[in-house]
Symmetry: C2
Subunit: 426 residues, 2 copies
């Protein structure tokens, strides 16, 4: 199924034109990606949030520690296994044992189901997997029963010299499914002879969305030039403010300026293209995740008139991390609907391959709001057709074609992430 | 669905023990394959015929120019696209244009549907594809209508200097889906700057099954040693006779000797293991294909008492090629049944990945007969579960596990084929 797109009567949408261009150039595009991967290493895995506005199709967030593998449809799993095998083979063909380090959410069984899924996929790709937890309270192997009746065993991580493992298990690779929001734990610092994947500097204590989007802009610029399209169609404007303190209300002037400037830029662009939507920007923590610390703003005055509750919400993100660096990003309304609820596609990639995705759906949110919020649901069946099998004979709007295009745009972010990690290498 | 296995009551079959061993060692096995692919390049694609006797599970034929991609289930296609992308990336990342050279069967619409499927998969993996034919009568682009209503355009191959192409299309890679039974055509000899895949010496004018099975025995020996199993369980005995002339009845003594010796060996092995089946051998052209030039023999006297019809059948294979080299191979009865008809699994691989498979089914043949014969059918749904997702918690007989094991054995032949092509390199 392809979700309905609001306000986009067939044939009238400029996006269909973009989709047609991408389909027509698919061999050129695949060739270009292949050549990019000769000099850049993709992240082991990533998921990206896309927004399809009808007139614009853009990545709005890239997650290098994707949860939600349990949301993927069964059809996606063999692809994920194949891509994980390829990723392991390319990085560390000698590796046989992986330690998987998940987030510290022991009570979030939804997340733990993701961990179990991930462990199963890694095992099926031919690795021995054990799960090592950073939770200090877990001092011995602890089985956790999942909603599906299966059991996941969390084990305390043991450091011996410059290596980590769990009892009786000395892994060659460490796969992080923990975004290190709380900082890089001492136990993982200074490891030798063990590859940490993704690298430690991919964690949120180091990573900045603005660096990602700077890389994304570069990638999109090169891609757009090849396809002779306006890069703006794929790339949201962004700006940053640093040294913001929402509690102390310092840095508000920077925020108001940036918001105002960006709204003007969007307004001008919309006017030029005859787009009648109301421009908005999204203000979010430059290092935040989990949909925390995100607000939609339609006027600069909104950021200077935050009430206490709003300020509290913006000031602190996951693991109690204080927000000082703020990203101001052009808002891209999502015009996709699943069962009359606003939806945005989330695309999952492993190594250089799109393995699947789903729709994040929120019945109580508007098309210009953050959907990654309590009450969100997932429509895992939406991507049951492959992202890799465009049907050249069909309309650009046909499911395999729309999903192929989503996969191409998602891979632009994947390439951006690889540039970002190269630049950030300590 | 897993086909029923005849005469193999649950838990009683030695094969279940082998399947359990393979499942338990899967991370070791995957690691071993990864390390093998570091020093060997898998064929671009291959299909293998397996036979599961309950007490023995063996490859009996390996095809380096697989047709029948149209028999694969829809679920297999994204995996095939992903594997083809990886194959292209590894061999020739700069390549964008592939010329696909099919067999010269213009009237076999079943085969042409395979060509169309293959072309679509290659296109989806990001290549520009044109189809160049070796048929001398085709002197201009010729559309052929397929049973599904789609059109395939066959174009005459044009040689310019040391390159080949079709009108207006200078390809970087040449993908052969033509087994070159009739010899290596002059138009493909001495090419420069164009990679021919598989290499010309993979064609049946050069290739010998006996060389393949010699390599297969080596691979199985190494694998069996790792797993501490009897290699015979995976590896059929084989022997050869050269300078056989079925018409002139020369070489019959060699055949009778080899058949007799092999039947004795099988009889001894069966006695040792308490197997009550009747031993048989398969006599086949060492360079034959399409199921032509194959006979089942249970007694040496059968090869010295061939009637004219049988001799005609054995003497000539595809493209009128005369048979002089003969392979004598231990017969492996297939004990699998699909809808009460005898069945054998055919596993398809692209690059190093098992992408799918199906059952070849023949209602009028016995468990010890060649099923690749007129009247055969295909059960494409049988492999709809993945070959890459063993379910460790289930019985070895469960579909994902049986198919995983089939995929492992098929990959032993894939590795054998890569050794074979290395050795045969001119």
């Amino acid at each position: 199924m392809v979700p309905r797109i609001l306000n986009a009567p067939e044939g009238a949408s400029p996006l269909l034109h973009l989709e047609r261009q991408i389909l027509d150039a698919s061999s050129e595009i695949e060739h270009w990606f292949r050549s990019q991967w000769l000099s850049h290493t993709p992240p082991f895995y990533a998921s990206v949030d896309l927004r399809n506005a009808g007139f614009k199709l853009s990545v709005v967030d890239t997650n290098l520690f994707p949860g939600g593998f349990n949301n993927l449809s069964e059809d996606a799993l063999p692809l994920a296994v194949q891509a994980m095998s390829a990723a392991v083979e390319r990085r560390c063909p000698d590796v046989r044992r992986f330690l998987l380090i998940p987030e510290n959410h022991t009570r979030n069984t939804f997340y733990l189901t993701n961990v179990a899924r991930l462990a199963a996929l890694l095992q099926q790709s031919g690795l021995e997997i054990r799960i090592g937890t950073l939770i200090p309270e877990i001092t011995e192997a602890t089985p956790v029963t999942l909603p599906n009746g299966k059991t996941l065993v969390l084990e305390p991580i043991i450091r011996s010299g410059n290596r980590v493992g769990v009892k009786g298990f000395d892994p060659c690779g460490i796969l992080l499914n923990n975004d290190l929001s709380a900082g890089i734990p001492a136990i993982l610092q200074g490891l030798e002879g063990q590859q940490v994947i993704p690298p430690l500097h991919a964690g949120w204590s180091v990573r900045r969305k603005s660096q990602h989007f700077a890389c994304y802009s570069k990638v999109v610029a090169a891609f757009a030039e090849r396809l002779q399209i306006d890069p703006w169609v794929l790339d949201p404007y962004f700006a940053t403010c640093t040294e913001v303190d929402f509690h102390a209300r310092s840095g508000e002037a920077c925020l108001a300026d940036q918001v105002s400037t960006m709204l003007t830029k969007i307004r001008e662009k919309y006017a030029l293209l005859g787009i009648t939507q109301t421009p908005y920007v999204v203000v979010k923590a430059d290092a935040g995740t989990y949909g925390m610390g995100v607000m939609t703003v339609k006027d600069a005055s909104e950021v200077t008139n935050l009430n206490r509750k709003q300020r509290n919400k913006m000031a602190v993100v996951k693991e109690g991390m204080q927000v000082t660096d703020v990203l101001i990003q052009e808002g891209v309304p999502t015009l996709e609907l699943v069962d009359d609820a606003v939806a945005e596609p989330v695309v999952y990639m492993v190594d250089r391959t799109v393995v699947g995705g789903f729709y994040r759906v929120h019945a109580e949110r508007g098309p210009d709001e953050n959907l990654n919020a309590p009450g969100m649901k997932f429509a895992p069946l939406a991507f049951d057709e492959s992202c890799m099998q465009p049907d050249y004979a069909s309309h650009p709007d046909a499911a395999p074609n729309r999903f192929y295009v989503y996969g191409v745009v998602a891979r632009l972010a994947l390439l951006a992430a690889s540039l970002e990690l190269e630049q950030g290498r300590p």
